[in-house]
């Protein structure tokens, strides 16, 4: 029983990681209707940025805030410089641009920061929670952070004029432009926000998996599964999907199919969702009139 609880909690902790990256994927999808394959590597790079700031002696939360700001600006810049020119190009061109970004970020990080694993500090402390022997303060803290990001996002889109404008620009660019919304600017902002959310994910993940240029490679696949399971256009769905994927993958790996097929669980989930419920658990089915 104790082992089972351990596995459950360790699944929830992993799920929190997947959920935070899935949120960033959903963010970009909502504003551009593309899946950004470079999302994980951008998050990894932001985490190196935070690490550099911390090495320079900044306090944790200052470095945290600075990283969010810089990542957001960098995300907007990437959209302007690299994505805008291929906006109207065929899907394949866009996908290849994303993959190019992935390779570039990965290689540059390896070149600048080397491939030796680095320790990234946790703001929540080490050891175990005082009353709960199954979870570390960091695992608990990062789940809280993921939920907080979700609430903030919800409030932003639901209650602010800027959020409304962004939703309008994504949903119906032509009408949005006619009513005076700068659609291009909204797209850039979507990229910026996604980069910032990715940075949060990176900083929450790194204390667990250690910081190295390949830290997001495995996680991104699980995040895809999470985002698809919850519905690729639904932030709440992405978070729920993340936790479900984390727990299912862990329990299946420990008790049913063995550790060798853990990744397969994620791939089967992706396929299953696409085949039987393409909109995901919480997504809206899109009906197009022809």
């Amino acid at each position: 029983m104790e082992a089972f609880l351990h596995q459950l909690v360790s699944g929830l902790a992993a799920g929190g990681i997947y959920a935070s990256l899935a949120l960033a994927l959903v963010m970009i999808y909502q504003s551009t209707h593309h899946i950004n394959f470079a999302q994980g590597e951008m998050a990894m790079f932001s985490t190196y940025l935070a690490w550099t700031l911390l090495q320079a002696g900044l306090p944790y939360w200052v470095a945290f805030a600075a990283t969010l700001g810089i990542s957001c600006a960098a995300g907007m810049l990437i959209e302007r410089v690299l994505i805008r020119p291929v906006e109207k190009a065929p899907v394949l061109t866009v996908v290849i641009t994303f993959i190019a970004l992935l390779v570039i970020f990965n290689s540059v990080a390896g070149w600048v920061f080397t491939h030796t694993v680095k320790v990234f500090p946790s703001p929540f402390g080490a050891g175990l929670l005082p009353r709960n022997p199954f979870m570390s303060p960091h695992e608990f803290g990062s789940i809280v952070v993921t939920l907080a990001v979700l609430v903030l996002l919800y409030a932003f889109f639901r209650f602010t004029p800027l959020g409304l404008a962004m939703r309008a620009a994504a949903l119906n660019p032509v009408s949005a432009r006619l009513s005076g919304i700068r659609v291009g600017r909204m797209l850039a902002l979507g990229w910026g926000l996604a980069a910032a959310i990715g940075a949060v994910a990176g900083m929450m993940v790194a204390p667990v998996v250690y910081l190295d240029p390949n830290m997001m490679a495995g996680i991104l696949l699980y995040a895809f599964a999470a985002a698809l399971l919850g519905g690729i256009d639904n932030p709440l769905g992405a978070v729920v999907g993340g936790f479900v994927v984390g727990v299912v993958e862990n329990l299946m790996g420990a008790y049913v199919i063995g550790t060798e097929l853990k990744l397969t669980v994620a791939l089967v989930l992706i396929l299953g969702v696409l085949l039987f419920k393409p909109a995901g658990l919480f997504g809206r089915a899109v009906v197009t009139r022809v």
Partner: protein
């Protein structure tokens, strides 16, 4: 008639050796011996790139001191990014364009696997390669390939011996990477335990795509084992050591020498959590205060200062690089003026009780035409919170 004469002349010309004693293979002249290597200077394993740079510095020293029997070493080390496809490409360039005599210390198990058949078909010496997989010691099927590192199976058998001696009733748990590297260890461990292989109560693998091995460690702890063997690459080894510590589990914990780096594994895992770990050593630890007393380490220190300036003198990779390059120069010296590919393999396969100056005294290299496993003995070491402290006698895992 003229054609017959021409044939006769040609036959005579080939029958008479051009040089009475000197026999040269590709890449060799009176002035130089050309050797090649692939090395991950970029990519996921680029931490190992210092080995190639360090060996360049070693051959600089050899050349400055007059070379090998008067011939300079022309060392061509190419980047393969730890990508097997590029290893094939670069190796073909070395063999077919650069015409190297031999390949030396090409690094990595997947990378060398990709060229294993090619170099044996072309009959190019592929020697002292930087990997410990047991498949390199297979002279029957692959007579042109020989590894350098102690084989993973030898190391695992040494752990098995130690467990049988110190804890014959132990319950053993194993964490391993699900590939050639990890499986080699499991095979070695089982063969070392022999009839007592049932002492293993649980073995769990992980994939390199897994974000963490936390779940695996939780699983292993649940098996009630009191001995844990971790056969993992550096990042995953660090995660495992940390998780074992976090869980408050206190098994006797053996760690593969591949991940025994203090800076790259034990520090990230937490030195307090790493204290008490056991590994098997074969190189002298440059941070050991006793080390500087060895003549071999003195020469190593002088070389580091003069030829390998700016390199970290505490980094074990430089000892590793020096050891392999030193052994190659011994093999080439033994070849004398018969520098053919056949003779290189012959000399590499007749090393007898060779003590490399930077290898722990007593651990000797032995090879024969039917046994290509270079090292058979290793020294156990325990981590005391700062460095690996050798303990007990040398153990043999042959």
């Amino acid at each position: 008639m003229i054609r017959i004469l021409a044939l006769a002349v040609a036959a005579l010309a080939t029958a008479l050796p051009a040089h009475a004693q000197k026999k040269y293979g590709p890449g060799v002249s009176d002035a130089e011996i050309r050797i090649g290597q692939t090395m991950p200077y970029s990519g996921p394993a680029s931490a190992y790139g210092v080995i190639g740079k360090s060996q360049k510095a070693f051959f600089d020293m050899v050349n400055e001191q007059g070379g090998i029997n008067g011939r300079k070493i022309n060392f061509i080390s190419l980047d393969d990014g730890y990508n097997p496809a590029r290893t094939v490409e670069q190796t073909r360039r070395l063999v077919e364009q650069e015409n190297v005599l031999l390949l030396f210390q090409s690094l990595g198990t997947p990378t060398n696997s990709a060229i294993h058949k090619y170099v044996n078909a072309r009959k190019v010496p592929h020697v002292l390669i930087a990997t410990g997989a047991s498949k390199w010691a297979d002279p029957k099927n692959y007579p042109w390939t020989m590894g350098f590192n102690p084989s993973y199976q030898v190391e695992a058998r040494i752990y098995a011996q130690h467990i049988l001696k110190t804890a014959p009733n132990a319950k053993i748990a194993v964490l391993y990477q699900n590939d050639d590297f990890g499986k080699d260890y499991v095979v070695g461990l089982k063969s070392g335990l022999g009839a007592k292989a049932s002492m293993i109560v649980r073995e769990v693998s992980y994939e390199v795509s897994d974000p963490t091995v936390d779940s695996q460690v939780v699983d292993l702890r649940g098996s009630g084992a009191d001995v844990l063997l971790t056969f993992a690459t550096p990042k995953f080894a660090a995660q495992a050591i940390r998780k074992v510590g976090d869980l408050g589990w206190k098994p006797t914990h053996y760690l593969t020498v591949v991940s025994a780096s203090v800076g790259a594994v034990l520090q990230p895992a937490g030195l307090d959590k790493a204290t008490g770990l056991i590994t098997a050593l074969y190189l002298v630890d440059p941070t050991d205060p006793e080390a500087s007393k060895l003549a071999g380490m003195k020469a190593w220190g002088e070389w580091m200062q003069k030829y390998n300036k700016g390199a970290d003198p505490n980094d074990q990779f430089h000892v590793n690089a020096y050891a392999a390059a030193w052994l190659l120069t011994e093999i080439l010296k033994a070849c004398g003026d018969d520098l053919t590919r056949e003779n290189v393999m012959k000399q590499a396969a007749s090393l007898k009780d060779v003590q490399i100056p930077v290898v722990i005294p007593g651990i000797r290299v032995n090879t024969t035409a039917s046994d290509f496993a270079t090292f058979g003995e290793m020294q156990l070491g325990r981590f005391d919170g700062k460095r690996w402290v050798p303990f007990g006698e040398l153990l043999s895992g042959r």
